[in-house]
Amino acid sequence: MDHALTISPMTAPRVGRRRLFRALAILFNRRASAIGALITLAFVFVALLGPWLAPYGLNQQLPASSLQPPSPDHWFGTDQLGRDVFSRVLFGASDILIMAGLGTLLAVLLGTSVGLFSAYKGGVWDEVIMRLFDSLLSLPMMLLALLLLGSLSSSNQSVMIVLVVVYTPIVARVVRSVVLSVKDLAYVHAARLQGESLRWILVRAILPATFPALAVESALRFSYAIFLIASLGFLGIGFQPPSANWGMMVSNARELATSAPWALYYPAAAIAVVVIGVNLFADGLKRISQAPQEFSR
């Protein structure tokens, strides 16, 4: 008998916490990922609390002070209607980020379900679904968004639909490729051999394997969703004027580039910073998912 199998006295919950620490260590070990994570965190915070943090109302006009340069009263200055740019950027954050977050969430949920099903079932189902998605993806994203919005009413729901239609195929593809690499692994066969239902196999056995890729992909999709919403706003589609879409703010302040650059640059900078920040964060997540597992023997 070889009872001499050595196992260190380490219990499961402690291991879970150790994993979290390890993941955070990987994230914060690299400056770029750490900055990305902090930026993302900061913007999420602003998006949730923005309306309460803002010193002025969204459309509160201060007639006496239009086109004021940045000052202690107006950190980002004011626009041509005398509205506080800082407040509008904060309000915009909650509009854009919540919209982008919800759209991404829906696209990820839908894309994951379709990708799981399509890859596991294979055959004709897979063929039909994937070719359909291929044809969607063959259109430039912006063109697709414009086409859709052209035929829908201009509203928040429409923007959400656009995000779902544009991102579902992408997420589905990512999930599908992970599932294809997992579905013939021994533990999935073992589950089938003990008569597990299709749902159990998909949800319990296969879905967890997609989480690392899914986390990275969701973060990326989120940053592009912000980008897409801002771009649509710049073109004047999607959000309607009372709300503060950063893209729309940029577009409205175009003529002020020389006379009152703050009205143009602050919202533009907000777009750039959040998109870059979330991208860096996604890159950090990727590093975590690719880090070698412990006990790889």
């Binding site: 380490m10 021994a186 073992a190 589950a191 051999l193 006990f295």
Partner: protein, 689 residues
Amino acid sequence: MLAIDGLTVAYNTPDGVVDAVRDVSLSIYPGQTYGLVGESGSGKSTLALAVMHYLPGEAVIRKGRILFDGRDLLTLNETAMRGIWGRQIAFVPQDPHASLNPSLRIGEQLREVLVAGDIGPREARRRALDLLADVRLPDPGHVADSYPHQISGGMKQRVLIAMAISRAPSVLVMDEPTTGLDATTQAGILDLIGDLIRRRNTAVLYVSHNLGVVAQVCDRVSVLYAGEMMEDAPATETYGRPLHPYTQGLLDSVPRLGQNKRRISLRAIAGRPPSPADRPGGCVFMPRCPLAMDICNEAPSLFEAAQDHHVRCHRWQEIRDGSADAHQPARKIGDRGELQVEPPKVLTARKVNVFFPVRRSLADLVARRPRQRVRAVNGVTLSIRRGRALGLVGESGSGKTTLASAIMGLVERSAGEIRLLDKPLPRGLSGRDRRTLSGLQMIFQDVDASLMPTMTAGAILARTLVRLGGAPPKDVPSAVSELIDSVRLPPEVLDRLPGQLSGGERQRVAIARAIASKPDLLVADEPVSSLDVSVQAAVLNLLDELQVERDGSLLFISHDLAVVGFVSDVVAVIYLGSLMQLAPAGEVFDPPYHPYTEALLSAIPLIDPLGQQERIRLEGDTPSPLDTPSGCPFHTRCPRFLGDVCVTQGPPERRTESGGMIRCHIPLDELRATQRRTFRFSVSIDKAD
């Protein structure tokens, strides 16, 4: 010629700096083949790369020198090394599939190497063809014009050897050059390597985990464990009179060709190799050593036991005198007399076919070519009796795993009948009820993937018990404890995730899961081939004990005839999806053989440098299962090819007296008269325990 002097190599890892190789010294002389044997994590590949001065960036050389021609290679920069790589020291890598450029023809790649060595292009072309002929590739011109994906793995490995020798280096470093190749292909490559070394007087550093291969090729063998050299001696000494408990344990834990569990049991080394990050202080082997004493808490130095024989063990003198026996005690397994009565059949398969249709390309459709089929399994008939083990042996592409999947229902058979306990088995899993599923369970080859990564071992076993064992929920915890105990694991394992277990532990949990439903038949598909050598024996012993305890039946699949012969009561040899021979385990090693079995047996390297073996080598490669040869599937490579009858007619099934079967056109008497036993050990391997 080449001397490694006190080399210590470490890696920078997230857990700190970890030594991979510790204080290793050795010298290799022209014409000598120096074997480095070790399990995973022993540091053998690191050592090979260090000799090339080609370590990855995370590696740090902490101490030592590598002396070559009076220079220390470790002090040279890359430019200087470029003058040495290929020209003076050449490398043959492990994975032939990843080591050739897929977008260049073989000839161009060879010429590239030659032209780098100041040879004109025209001369290079001629030399390339010469080299391909040198490594005994048939039709060198054709090979030179092929892309890597168009030739087989064995041919690629020959091309890599041709590249390595192209500039007549004085030192060759070979890192597992035949791992991953089939036995019959490996035999040809080993012949070639032996031949080249003899002709060219090259010094060779040969790295491998395979004790047989090293015994066949090397003059001198160094055994590495956890980065340290345990024993270093001429091959005949290492294999004949090992002085280190680890060497002895390693040799004891591998079944030899011809051994069977009914006569002899394997002596497993307890425990598992330490992870490089937490090596024991003192003697690194101490935690697993049956001879460990207090003194072993101090690190032993490398003692000179005899001229040319070094051993790192405090107790080597006692081991030499025989006053300390490092052989692990063999376990007694009940009464295992010869098989007399025939128990009932648990599984019967009759004329089973598994064909996979190949997708037709657009060009095929346009040209109206008929749909092709891969004939993975072709008319296989076999049966397994209660309490017996049937061993299925075959090389890659022989259809052995497909046959197992068809039995399990993971793949649907195209034709034929399979019955479990005399009830017909539906083709696919969807038609099988819970009773059928619990009667048939499987252990998988891929140890890393055999358990769900997100569930603890305990949860996995509980789930299986609930699904298949029909256990009421309140009995599950105790049943889980019983199961984990029956595979000789401590209960703490139940709280671990698979990622926190070693390969051997994971495979035991997988075995526990497979026996949870008390199956009538357990199918084990290469259950030990991804485990370290020293861990394999314990898993094989466990399977055997469980089989005896539960009177279960086993279908054991492997590419390794020695392992199959050891584990099984009946051996089935399969080639290109067809059964070639069925024999009681005691008889498969003696004539009459099927000519394919004969070739397979003579291709397996004996773990005995002084052993003798018939030299039967197969020509060419296994044909594609898309296009199986007519008549006898083996006729294209058969050394005993008779003529037209083999090409036009399927061979008859000839029954032997003992109930075996050989499918061959040659009558049994004639086979018996012309064949000799293909191998002979220099010492008796059947010594009773």
